[in-house]
Subunit: 238 residues, 2 copies
């Protein structure tokens, strides 16, 4: 390896739309705000949403294949940064996806980093498989939401991690409830919280939960994820 | 073809978690309640959630490879019905996924059906590609949510459909707002509605929107999607 990356953590969620990419971004931002150097490798090849969260568009990576940099100095590499238009579809079959992920790890000039977070695509197909087989991971963070369906797919992700001998560092439950801005009523839109129970039943550290927060959705949509404060990274660190 | 399937409609979403599987299930239920025979082919091989929504577990498909049947008589085929445990991960690479989808279309004994709905996995990789290349589709329904990210991936899905010459029958915007059960305040948690604007800008019929409804999440989790009433199928029919 040409450079030194101290910790590599992959973020996985068996099921799409539970907020996995947002959590990956918040972890990288949290690490940066604690004074660590951090980066994000967006391995969600056919649904890359990381660059948009950081307000990054197409850029010129130059000869050295350098990653893009966010305003706080977080290094980011994603297929969406290399497309002509961010809404061009990536119609790739499995083997091409595996190869692109390998290149993001091996060919990008990341430089020395304290933390590199890898945003895995939902499910348990090519990209998660390639990442777990080829990249030396410290471990995985699994993101779930209270939906019964998501708990089932979290268990699929846990079983995959176990079969690939990758440690699971923690479980985060996202979109866990909504607090009405008018009358402060707390509504569990996607059902009662299950994260703590699933974490205890599977022996995985529970990193806590995040509510449904229009502010977070707003920051993601407007490319300002770095202005959203979250203590998630600190919880992972401990 | 050994049997007669009058209409085949694939449901796609470019991004996971926007409610694509729930919408596919609601369309099949809507068709059934209008007196049509209907079925669901769950092509979301590594994240199959359709059987759970209908309360179906592992069953014996017998020699003829017959699909499972819901309480209303909707025919359903999904990889999760063939797994030993519903929380076993399917760790398959692209080519295997493409082949499984082909077998669900060619080898399952669907019988005569008025409508077959195909639940595509999120993204634009193997399964959507195989389905659009090998199955004679009437067209696609695209599901989005107000999140800016989802609109970007909807445009990716639209471009893919156009490049494969598959007509787009309609756009549904899901999780569009939340009405507080206490004080009736309407909160657009994922941002302002964009579906109608995107539909107009891309020339796709707008099929309307669905609010965030804890009832729908509850029906999905408890396997009772058939008891949730929605006029979505009627809007598609017109
Ligand atoms: N706790 C939350 N509250 C409100 N919106 C959220 C929350 N977590 C994620 N989102 C929004 O939901 C959308 C989906 O999140 P994303 O991180 O892309 O999910 P995934 O990577 O699991 O598909 C994003 O637009 C994001 O802004
Ligand atoms: N309008 C809605 N209101 C509340 N919950 C919803 C709504 N649409 C979908 N859900 C829930 O969100 C979860 C994700 O939906 P799903 O259909 O599996 O999404 P996708 O197929 O796009 O990944 C399911 O548990 C479902 O119950
Ligand atoms: Zn209220």
């Amino acid at each position: 390896m040409r450079f030194d990356i101290k910790h590599v953590i992959a973020v996985m969620s068996g099921k799409g739309g539970v907020g996995k990419s947002s959590i990956t971004a918040l972890l990288a931002v949290g690490a940066r705000k604690q004074g660590f150097s951090s980066g994000v490798l967006d391995a969600d090849i056919t649904g890359p949403s990381i660059p948009k969260m950081f307000g990054l568009k197409k850029y010129d990576h130059g000869q050295r294949f350098a990653p893009a940099e966010s305003s706080l100095g977080i290094k980011i590499m994603s297929l969406n940064l290399l497309l002509l238009n961010e809404d061009d579809p990536v119609i790739w079959r499995g083997p091409l996806i595996g190869r692109a992920v390998g290149q993001f790890w091996g060919d990008v000039d990341w430089g020395d980093l304290d933390y590199l977070f890898i945003d895995l695509p939902p499910g348990t197909a090519d990209a998660p498989l390639t990442v777990m087989q080829t990249i030396p991971l410290d471990g995985l963070v699994i993101v779930s939401s209270p939906q019964g369906l998501a708990v089932m797919v979290v268990k699929k992700a846990l079983k995959m991690a176990r079969s690939m001998n990758v440690p699971v560092l923690g479980l985060v439950e996202n979109m866990s409830y909504f607090a009405c801005p008018q009358c402060q009523a707390k509504v569990e839109i996607f059902g009662s919280l299950k994260g703590e129970k699933v974490a205890r039943a599977t022996g995985v550290p529970y990193l806590g939960n995040l509510p449904l927060d229009p502010n977070l959705a707003g920051c993601c949509d407007s490319g300002r994820i770095e202005s959203y404060n979250s203590d998630l990274f600190l919880k992972l660190l401990n």
